[in-house]
């Protein structure tokens, strides 16, 4: 026990002396820490290693569009996003990220493989499938696939939706329906979300989460 105490004390001293490197750092204010290290050491605690979140409370980021992640992280860092979850979980984490770190994080997650998925069965949420693929012309609801892609793969700053958690999708649709202030990067979605009923949202979330 005495020798162990010595070892621990000396180890602590080594830490005080600044012997640690940044390859496994959990610092959020050190520009030398790369996006990859941040993703592995910090972001993974909610978003999962390699961007596959085990919790429905947090979005999957694997294979997400880099431009979308980049824009959202900047919006969270600068506190332009006001949705509750964004403020509670992400304002603090993102507050000291540099532009370079944001770009690295975006590139890291965009490069992660999406989970193996098969096309959703045709009989799963027909209403959701119709809304996603064709929209609802009578109500002025545009087809999701028009911007997000037939497979929900996204494009540039338009997010990938495929493989996303159902609960997360539902929450974000609700946030977008509340108005553009909550998610400025999603301003274009706000009028669309306004035209969706609760049952529309549930049907869409059922369909998209199975893509």
């Amino acid at each position: 026990m005495r020798s162990l105490s010595c070892i621990v004390a000396l180890s602590f001293l080594a830490q005080f002396a600044g012997c640690a490197d940044t390859s496994r750092s959990r610092s959020l204010d050190d520009p030398k820490v790369t996006g990859r290290v941040m993703a592995e050491q910090v972001c993974s605690n909610c978003h999962g290693q390699r961007g596959l979140s085990p919790s429905e409370n947090f979005p999957n980021l694997a294979a997400q569009q880099a431009d979308y992640i980049d824009g959202e992280l900047r919006s969270l860092r600068d506190k332009h996003r006001h949705d509750p979850a964004g403020a509670v979980y992400m304002w603090g984490i993102a507050r000291q990220l540099t532009d370079a770190q944001i770009a690295q994080l975006a590139a890291y997650y965009a490069a992660q493989p999406a989970p193996a998925a098969s096309p959703p069965p045709l009989d799963l949420s027909p209403a959701g499938r119709q809304l996603f693929m064709e929209g609802a012309a009578d109500r002025g609801v545009l087809a999701c696939a028009g911007c997000h892609g037939q497979k929900g793969e996204g494009n540039g700053s338009i997010p990938r939706l495929a493989d996303q958690h159902r609960a997360y999708l539902l929450r974000q649709l609700t946030v977008l329906r509340l108005g553009p202030d909550n998610r400025p990067m999603g301003t274009v979605m706000s009028p669309v979300a306004h035209k969706l009923s609760d049952s529309d949202m549930r049907a869409l979330a059922d369909y998209i989460s199975s893509m």
Binding site: R2, C6, Q41, E56, A85, R171
Partner: protein, 492 residues
């Protein structure tokens, strides 16, 4: 822990100096309006605490702790505080010789205590959680006047690393701490399951925090070194040992009077294993822990091994969380068993009491076994409104050694008169020698701010000290102890 060998003396001085520098650094900046870990990560309490109800941790909060409190940016002022105001009300205060003493501060709003915290991220791999607590009712003089006192509370210093590869995710660390299981990330651990600080005045002796909770024979203010690993966020293993606090770690018992210390002979081994699984909005942990210790009967006298109490503690615990904003649901269950062998001088002794016919009672047993089952369910909505229900059932062997009430051999009556040959204890006496205490607690709470929790707990007893009725020999029933505890718990 014994003094470090001479070759470490310089290291010891440097370490202490370093700790002081870390604690005192950066006074020039104004404090933020949130506690130290929030300032460090910039996140809301809700990120680490389930539904914002501190201290219960979310999966992210557990990783924050296991990675040594090192996520974020080192704060310039690594300090925080908390304070509790409360009001305790015991259902029946009439069955007492001196209600003002047996139920001191009953129905009165009091400042129950406050803590200062220091710590958080110190380096990339080293972090700390240090709590120092002030109790305004720590002692009472002969005139009944209370005196406050401050002393070391829970403390935990960690050295950690987190290895991530294509096929593995392993957190490894070492913790120096002063309370078995304070290093544990789940809130079914003995050091964390009981959460609202318990005020010292006797009106709080029956509130939920004073009901049976999991614990170890070796309690706080010891010093322990444990090593742990969390593998793929699935398997958690921790092993270490605790012993009497002294030497370089004396700050972990700072302010504690000798009578309050736990003095351990040698090392008390501690083992913990847990299996963790997360899916959907759920996380589940099933675990077990064990500890074996030898504790001196008198903390001021540690030379005689015949005065040792021997404890073997073991427990199994489980925690399920369903966290999906705005909902936070938690279910907890713990079952513990404690074997306690008494010092030889306490075994085989005839109690001072006699039975109703004047016959001697059975001699005291050399050992006891205690079993505790505790379950709890809580739900919080929007990190603002919540409630909970918990059930506790402590049972164990009957032993005349634990009898604090009984028939006086001279008068043949049960009397609390100090002049009696065998005076009995009113209110919290035990006339059976059996520990059975069982009941429930209902709780409702409101978090108007993320750092303020206002709550009310009502605790009902079905059994107390072995009986439903007349447990103290003076006609007091378990239900007479039902208590309402209202509190406001603020952190800054």
């Amino acid at each position: 822990m014994p003094d470090l060998p001479a070759k470490c003396s310089n290291a010891r001085r440097l370490m202490v100096a370093g700790l002081l520098l870390v604690s005192l650094g950066g006074w020039q900046s104004p404090a933020s309006a949130i506690p130290v870990f929030n300032r460090q990560t910039g996140q809301n309490c809700q990120a680490c605490h389930a539904g914002g109800q501190f201290p219960e941790l979310t999966p992210y909060g557990r990783m924050f702790k296991l990675t040594g409190y090192t996520i974020g940016s080192r704060t310039e002022i690594p300090l925080a505080m908390m304070a509790v105001a409360s009001r305790s009300s015991v259902r029946n205060t009439s069955k007492s010789d001196d209600p003002s003493a047996d139920f001191s501060k009953n129905d009165k709003l009091i400042f129950a205590g406050a803590s200062v915290f220091a710590g958080g991220r110190i380096t990339d791999n080293f972090g700390a959680f240090l709590q120092y607590t002030y109790d305004p009712y720590a002692s009472q003089d002969a005139s009944g006047k209370y005196h406050g006192h401050a002393a070391a509370d829970n403390m935990d210093l960690r050295l950690v690393d987190h290895f991530v590869g294509a096929s593995h995710d392993v957190v490894v660390g070492a913790s120096v701490n002063n309370n078995p299981s304070v290093s544990d990330p789940w809130n079914t651990a003995a050091a964390w399951m009981q959460y609202v600080p318990v005020p010292s005045p006797s009106s709080s002796q029956f509130i939920d925090g004073a009901t049976p909770y999991p614990g170890f024979g070796t309690g706080g203010n010891t010093s322990g070194l444990t090593a742990y690993a969390f593998i793929d966020q699935t398997l958690y293993l921790e092993a270490g040992a605790y012993r009497s606090t002294r030497g370089v770690l004396a700050f972990m018992k700072l302010g504690q009077p000798t009578s309050a210390l736990t003095r351990v002979q040698g090392n008390a081994p501690y083992l913990r294993a847990a299996w963790n699984l997360a899916w959907g909005a759920s996380s589940l942990m099933i675990g077990a822990s064990t500890m074996s210790s030898r504790v001196y009967d008198d903390p001021a006298s540690t030379g005689d091994p015949t005065t040792l109490h021997r404890f073997r503690d073991s427990s199994i615990d489980a925690q399920y969380q369903w966290l999906l904003d705005p909902h936070a649901l938690t279910l907890q269950a713990v079952a513990t068993r404690q074997f306690h062998r008494y010092p030889d001088a306490l075994a085989g002794q005839l109690p001072a009491f006699v039975d109703a016919q004047g016959n001697p009672l059975a001699p005291s047993s050399p050992s006891d076994v205690l079993r505790l089952l505790r379950v709890k369910a809580t739900y919080t909505w929007r990190a603002t409104y919540g409630g909970g229900f918990s059930y506790f059932d402590l049972s164990g062997t009957t032993n005349s050694l634990n009898q604090t009430s009984g028939y006086d051999p001279l008068t043949g009556t049960i009397t609390s008169s100090p002049a009696a040959a065998a005076p009995s204890t009113r209110v919290n006496g035990n006339v059976t020698g059996n520990p059975r205490t069982a009941g429930e607690t209902l709780e409702a709470y409101w978090l108007p701010l993320q750092n303020l929790r206002i709550g009310a707990q009502y605790t009902l007893y079905q059994r107390y000290n072995g009986s439903a009725r007349n447990y103290d020999g003076f006609g007091r029933s378990a239900a007479d102890n039902d208590s309402l505890f209202v509190y406001a718990w603020f952190s800054y």
